[in-house]
């Protein structure tokens, strides 16, 4: 399985790609997670990638035909071709406060499934910070149980508890759970 993440520098697209990979590894899968490095700086469009497989992963080139695309910043829809290479059964998950069916029409994306979740508002509510990356992971797992929600939560705890403390870690976990529940899917 190949996932492409679109975000802006500083929004945690790299971290999200890596967290999902690590949770999958701890669930027994082989993994790869890597960002696309360019002249990146805060606010610039960036891409990152996750590969997950039951078998060892030999491939080391960029992901061109992802199964899933996650757009962490809605303003990228105007400047980046986010559906590029997305496979026919693909899933496009976007952080935006609009119904999925409406976005599907706007993007003229009739091949696969579109899902939306207002992850920025969720992050502002729970974490008091505009960091939508972890809620996006929660939404993704609702649509495709790549790992269990519990596996992701345990990974987040392991990664963040010592670094940012219990209060903020719990706020992050709350954001993940809310996005998991609130994600909206087009059919």
């Amino acid at each position: 399985m190949e996932i492409r993440w679109h975000g802006r520098g500083g929004q945690g697209a790299k971290t999200a790609a890596q967290l999902l990979a690590e949770a999958a590894m701890e669930s027994g899968d082989y993994i790869q997670a890597f960002p696309e490095y360019g002249p990146e700086r805060a606010g610039a469009p960036i891409k990152s990638f996750t590969r997950i497989s039951k078998n060892p992963i030999n491939i080391h080139c960029g992901v061109t035909n992802p199964d899933i695309v996650v757009v962490i910043d809605p303003t990228l829809l105007e400047s980046v071709d986010v559906t590029k290479g997305l496979t026919n059964e693909g899933l496009l998950l976007i952080n935006i406060a609009k119904p999925a069916a409406e976005i599907k029409k706007v993007l003229n994306f009739d091949k696969g499934k579109v899902a939306t979740v207002d992850a920025t508002s969720i992050a502002l509510d729970t974490l008091k910070l505009p960091m939508p990356n972890l809620p996006m992971l929660g939404a993704l797992l609702k649509l495709n149980p790549i790992v269990t929600l519990e596996a992701l939560e345990s990974k987040i705890k392991k990664k963040f508890l010592e670094k940012i403390g219990e209060e903020k870690t719990n706020a992050n976990l709350e954001g993940v759970k809310r996005a998991y529940e609130e994600v909206n899917v087009s059919e």
């Binding site: 890596q18 990979a21 590894m25 997670a33 890597f34 490095y37 992963i57 491939i59 960029g62």
Partner: protein, 392 residues
């Protein structure tokens, strides 16, 4: 399931260095090697290793400090990339000529100009004549295993040469993968204590390192250096055997992938070999007998192993991630073609220069190379000796 940890290629190199726990590390950070120095410095700061860390002000100083440290009898490591390797150039030669067993992870990156931070092999291929042993790694696991075996090879009393362990900048250095590490205890046992036969600081056996050496002895010393590289070719398999005994993993100069019954094959170093394996699996599904030969060690050059592996083939493409501006193709191509000159078997061998400055090498490009090889087999001749893959 084996114990797995998620690390980038750079973090993997630092993790191997932690287990090796050299006496001295002198290094200067440079993209994309930075995370090696960063992570290893963290291990030092956290007291996880007793290594003396020397944060020098340049790569020239880094290798100079390593030369002093290794001459004094300390197990010594550094790490670099691209322009950093270029800046330490003078001392890179001094390290090997003084026969100092320094181990250096190198994260391959294009040399300037134009300035570029991404992967190609122009940096380490430039040092192919510097007398260092060179490993090239496909993924983080190989970075790890090659680094664990490197000190044993470097410090072998019949070899005593420095070793570079090269991995592809960003492609593996910044990709998180699942590493299956060995136990600290097993690594320590395998590497053992470093007891050099002679050191600069042994006052009972006073020695001079690096004195003036003119017409009278310089040539003999260079001849001895050649002999050391020949010894490396002969003695490295002994270290491979010991590695296999300790860790249960077979090691070789080259890796063959579906080569035994192959008609056509690609030869390539480092991470691109993984992409080639994926293409081979696809071609095999279509009934095309494609294979791969991946040299894991480029110095000493595994000529016998390469000739033996490729002799049964109908056509071979050698892919070079560096340009030598010789108008004769890249370094890997030239050495393989040269090795075949005395072979009875004359195989059509073509060269592809690819991926300079980090240009992505995708599966379609590799498939096009196999398509070209099939045409060569059909026509019975080569159309173009040196080709450029994926350039506009």
């Amino acid at each position: 399931m084996a114990n797995r940890i998620a690390l980038t290629g750079d973090q993997t190199a630092a993790y191997a260095m932690k287990q090796i726990e050299p006496d001295v590390v002198a290094a200067y950070p440079i993209t994309p090697q930075t995370e090696i120095v960063m992570s290893f410095s963290q291990y030092v700061a956290d007291g996880e290793v007793k290594t003396e860390m020397i944060p020098v002000e340049s790569e020239h100083s880094a290798m100079s400090a390593c030369v002093g440290s290794a001459a004094a009898g300390a197990r010594t490591m550094t790490a670099t990339s691209a322009n950093g390797l270029a800046l330490m150039w003078e001392i890179v030669y001094i390290a090997s000529s003084t026969r100092l067993p320094i181990v250096m992870p190198v994260v391959n990156r294009a040399l300037s100009a134009p300035i570029n931070i991404h992967c190609d092999h122009s940096d380490t291929m430039g040092t192919r004549d510097s007398g260092w042993i060179q490993f090239y790694c496909e993924n983080a696991q190989e970075v790890y295993e090659n680094l664990i075996i490197a000190p044993r090879i470097a410090e072998h009393p019949d070899i005593l040469l420095p070793v570079m362990v090269c991995q592809d900048g960003f492609i593996t250095s910044h990709a998180v993968e699942a590493l299956e590490p060995f136990d600290d205890k097993d690594v320590k046992e395998f590497i053992g204590e470093y007891k050099p036969e002679q050191t600069l600081l042994d006052i009972n056996k006073p020695l001079t390192y690096g004195p003036l050496d003119l017409q009278d002895y310089y040539f003999e010393h260079k001849r001895q250096q050649s002999e050391a590289m020949l010894n490396a070719k002969n003695k490295i398999p002994e270290v491979f055997d010991e590695f296999e005994k300790k860790f249960g993993k077979k090691f070789d100069f080259v890796e063959r992938y579906k080569l035994d019954d192959a008609d056509i094959a690609v030869v390539v170093l480092s991470s691109t070999a993984g992409n080639v394996k994926v293409v081979i699996d696809q071609l095999r599904d279509k009934g095309i007998k494609a294979g791969l030969l991946k040299p894991k060690i480029f110095r000493p050059f595994p000529d016998d192993e390469i000739i033996e592996a490729l002799s049964g083939l109908k056509a071979v493409a050698v892919m070079d991630r560096s340009e030598s501006f010789s108008n004769q193709g890249g370094p890997l191509f030239n050495e393989i073609r040269s090795a075949f000159y005395e072979s009875d078997k004359k195989i059509p061998i073509v060269n592809y220069i690819f991926g300079l400055g980090g240009r992505d090498i995708d599966l379609e490009m590799i498939e096009s190379v196999y398509n070209d090889l099939m045409k060569i087999v059909e026509a019975g001749k080569i159309n173009k000796k040196v080709n450029y893959l994926g350039v506009r």
